[in-house]
Chain length 369, copies 2
């Protein structure tokens, strides 16, 4: 009996060894650069994987919603940071959560800051989120007027305390020159530290994206790193150069339901509700919704690149694999195949739990968004 | 107190009146054409919405996985059809389910048929899925050898009984000429009926896609229609011409967390984990991940087209709205906005429950994929 005997429908597998190696590598890197590693737990969303993380010196995590922070609460984390511009409708919920858990939040405007001043009943830390070019969210790194205004407003509350500046350089996912982006990030955070540390001597700066944290070696005077995806990695990160296929720690086991020799295609139960719909482009411009690996009793093996098979299309539940010659020759209806995901955070969120290679269910927050 | 006072985080709203009108309209159309309406319940995945459907004469539904069929079981459905090429690993589960619920499945090859002959212990109906050009799955409509082989194999079991031919013309989602597709569908199913009804006088033919069922008026001798999305509709269906924006029965309520006047953008808590990542293209080629509607105590209103605001980008939890001038003038941090989804099936699956406009939670199967 192996874990494979437990699987009859799409199941997200986790290889604990690969996952631990990913965490150890990033923890070692953080330590080598004198940075504190505070991983973004939106990827793993798990108590059990959190316990593994603690073995590598990880003591704090980040959540992407208050619901996820509630799930992670009570697990011994020294602090949980909610890395999303705070939603003022959730102040009552934040007060409840902060009763039993050290929490920090993220601020980018004075309206929400004032609402917190008016409504907070418990002590809560905050980072100001900085935008140094990504353009999704955050205060522009040169908008000192807004930064000062948030800090002045916060100062009127005995419950809000300033922790520092948080920057997510998410454009590392689609802009090729990560070193140039990191220079921008380093300089923006360093300038802010210089400017504000007189008044806030304990302020820290944190930066967060996995591609940057994986490939960069110069973090300047940044204090903390907050990547998320690195615990699992995925094919998007492989494409960005931060990891190898063999570093991807999760794969979706899918049952083969039909084989079309004529078209060279294999139909599996595994679609958008399992993998989510993130997609990469193959060199020939066709879509790639995930790549096939071969499952065995102790995990999975990755085919040679000349023997690569991939999901050419997915709908809600269906996946159509463009199969290599050798896969077509050997695959049978009723087999299980593995799919390395394009975006593991979204796949894990869609699946809601993991199966370990020794057949144990590993928890994942349910619907924590 | 209205339903709005209950919302502090992303919440999927359902307008029961719109949903009922959609079901009534399709039931009336089916009846006018002498068709039986067997909706695909992968869209709603709900007992409560199933109860509404029963008021319009709907007595059978379709599921897209055995897990979903298990959820829908025991709710008084005369039959539940699992419209996915049957996965032979789930035969034991099928036997358990078929003890208490009339079930039918879908077959496209002899391997799985033989495994069912060997493993079934309860009576189960089956459709043969036909591919008349979509190319995702199914037996080619002219591949009589394979159809005969499935039927011959099935005949050796006392538990398998043939119900008919099922065709999902899913290319109606991306090919503009729906009437031409429907001619193909009608002809394929009619030819098969003629060929096989001597031996199977009770066989029925069923076709399923919402765009086709919504716009077509000639169903030939097709017996049953099985659309799914029509219970909610969405912006993809609006684009395909099957409904109006005012027919969309669900919208995601999202909290406003920041407003960027300079860029004309509003940041909301609402991203890929809530809406899924389906996307349409605006006329100028930019992305549209959903459109803003204005919430009020009794539901929502749709802005004029000149006053349209839409989600220009989403990530895991963030949504960035490209806002109209009037929305920018009135929106405030802490407000709630509504987002009409691009693909309501995926959004409902991601959210896992609904809130009605009178403030009641409406069930949705959790993780039934």
């Amino acid at each position: 009996m192996t874990y494979l005997d437990q699987i009859t429908s799409p199941t997200l597998l986790i290889d604990e060894k690969i996952c631990r190696a990913n965490m150890k590598r990033m923890a070692d890197k953080a330590s080598r650069h004198g940075l504190k590693l505070v991983p973004h737990w939106k990827t793993a969303q798990s108590h059990e994987i959190g316990n593994w993380a603690k073995e590598y010196g990880i003591k704090e995590v980040t959540a992407s919603s208050i619901k996820m922070a509630e799930y992670l609460c009570g697990q011994g984390w020294e602090n949980i940071h909610i890395a999303f511009p705070f939603n003022p409708l959730e102040i009552p919920r934040l007060n409840r959560l902060a009763k039993s858990q050290s929490i920090s939040i993220q601020l980018i405007n004075t309206v929400t800051t004032q609402k917190l001043v008016d409504g907070l009943t418990k002590k809560v830390g905050f980072f100001i989120e900085i935008d140094a070019g990504y353009g999704r969210t955050g205060v522009k790194n040169t908008d000192f007027e807004l930064i000062d205004s948030i800090l002045q407003t916060a100062k009127t509350s005995e419950h809000l305390f300033f922790k520092g500046f948080y920057l997510h350089a998410g454009h590392s996912y689609y802009m090729p020159d990560i070193p140039a982006l990191y220079e921008q990030t380093r300089n923006a955070l360093s300038d802010l530290k210089t400017r504000y540390r007189k008044e806030y001597p304990n302020l820290v700066t944190r930066t967060g994206d996995t591609p940057g944290c994986a490939v960069m070696e110069d973090f300047g005077d940044i204090d903390e790193m907050g990547p998320g995806n690195f615990v699992f990695y995925d094919l998007m990160q492989v494409e960005l150069g931060g990891c190898e296929r063999s570093d991807v720690a999760v794969c979706l086991a899918v049952p083969v339901v039909d084989i079309n020799q004529e078209r060279g295609e294999i139909l599996v139960h595994g679609g958008g509700v399992h993998l989510a719909k993130d997609v990469l482009k193959n060199p020939d411009g066709s879509n790639n919704f995930g790549e096939v690996v071969y499952l065995n009793a102790s995990g999975w093996t990755i085919p040679d690149s000349k023997d690569r098979s991939y999901l050419k299309s997915i709908s809600q539940e269906h996946g159509v694999i463009k199969a290599s010659k050798s896969l077509l020759e050997t695959a049978k209806v009723g087999d299980l195949l593995g799919i390395l995901p394009i975006h593991s955070c979204m796949t894990a969120d869609a699946m809601g739990e993991y199966l370990s290679l020794d057949g144990k269910i590993i928890d994942h927050a349910e619907g924590c968004h």
